[in-house]
């Protein structure tokens, strides 16, 4: 379950401790979830190029704690274009403003026809207790290669040259029948494995893993409509100089 810093584009695999203590590159604490198979944009331009000058200077000079408070206070209305890297392939061309952002909801809306039916099935299906392990979510995804979605976890996937293979995968999967696909159960299991604290079934519909929510030291304080979320990072992860609780 990869995540990407909305500030500088740095990517983090699921369970990354670097991400949990704030982005080591820019100190940001907003991360966008990118589902398996989603293309990561190439490394973004330096954030200063896209950021409003005041935002980057605040982030740099006042530090992480202030950034966090500011993000929280203003968190309801993030500027979707403020600190997000360019999309190299220009695939989402339906909306000039949102074209650079790919998130779970937007992907479904813009590429709904091309979505893997098995994935759609798994997305809308309900996870039974046996499908959702209570503890110890694996942070590795070695099995991904068998499901035809290797791009997101591949270390080389941040290169724009990986886009064509991803498109090939989509074509292949779409062309296969879905209901009898032997990979369906496997794919569904993988998706369920990725279901951590909060699963967005569709806008306004959520499934929650209470044990995960309870087990996390940080907690999700704001879900954004576009699939982003803001987490509160515990003080001890940031440093002794922060006291904002």
């Amino acid at each position: 379950m990869p995540h990407q810093c909305t500030g500088c584009g740095e990517r983090f695999e699921d369970g990354s401790k670097e991400m949990l203590s704030g982005c080591p590159e820019c100190g940001g604490n907003k991360f966008q979830f990118r589902p398996q198979g989603a293309d990561f944009p190439a490394e973004p331009e330096p954030p200063a190029a896209d950021d409003p000058p005041e935002e980057s200077s605040v982030a740099e000079t006042v530090g992480r704690a202030t950034t966090r408070v500011r993000d929280f206070v203003a968190g309801d209305e993030p500027d979707p274009n403020a600190a997000w890297p360019d999309e190299p392939d220009g695939a989402a061309g339906d909306d000039g403003d949102d074209g650079e952002i790919i998130d779970a909801d937007a992907r479904r809306e813009t590429t709904g026809d091309a979505e893997d039916p098995a994935q759609a099935n798994a997305r809308s299906g309900l996870a039974g207790p046996e499908d959702v392990p209570d503890h110890g979510r694996s942070t590795t995804n070695e099995d991904d290669a068998t499901a035809g979605e290797p791009a997101a976890d591949d270390p080389a996937a941040d290169s724009p040259t990986d886009d064509p293979p991803a498109a090939d995968d989509d074509d292949r999967v779409v062309s296969e029948p879905s209901d009898d696909d032997p990979d369906l159960a496997e794919l569904r299991e993988q998706l369920n494995d990725q279901f951590e604290s909060i699963k967005i079934v569709e806008p306004g519909q959520y499934e929650l893993n209470l044990m995960e929510l309870y087990d996390r030291e940080e907690y999700i304080i704001a879900l954004q409509e576009n699939g982003r979320y803001v987490i509160q990072v515990p003080d001890q992860w940031i440093g002794a100089d922060v006291d904002d609780r």
Binding site: P129, G204, Y206, L210, M211, I221, Q232
Partner: protein
Amino acid sequence: MGLLTDLRSSISRATSSLFAGSEPKRIGIYGPPNAGKTTLANRIARDWTGDAVGPESHVPHETRRARRKENVEIKRNGKSVTIDVVDTPGVTTKVDYKEFLEHDIEEEDAVRRSREATEGVAEAMHWLREDVDGVIYVLDATEDPFTQVNTMLVGIIESQDLPVLIFANKIDLEEASVQRVSNAFPQHETVPLSALEGDNMDEVYDTIAEHFG
């Protein structure tokens, strides 16, 4: 605004600890949506401070942020116990905006409420992990208590070794079954009450003072 509330509470706790011998115990009111948690919190707060905690509603997930009433002093049998009452959003494993549509809420508003309710559950679980000293677990006595959420939450509370009381609420309704609730959690004391009607509140306060004092 959980963070700001935290800030404020840290300051007020630090201040109050300067003048008082010990901090009030923070008692979280937990339970599934529409069990009557806010009604109970308001009943307690009104009885002992004159204030209310938050709006009550038949619409589920009306409480989407934890709300706290501090320094509620309950006097029982010549002694007094001071607690902070934390009313938490109803905990559930699924939030669906369509639930709100049944209550004549527009779709856009329903989706927003759904998102806020989800955030509320996350907040409630976070509080349970770090910020409560005891739990009042409120159940609607007209509903089946044997649910995954109830079992999981009570299990978590037990694993934390937090003192817990089970409140079987809504006994003013005919179909309420206190026995069913106490059968579900025989390891804990179950107190029947109607927070709405104020039934059996004397026993409620006696038990709170006894367990959390």
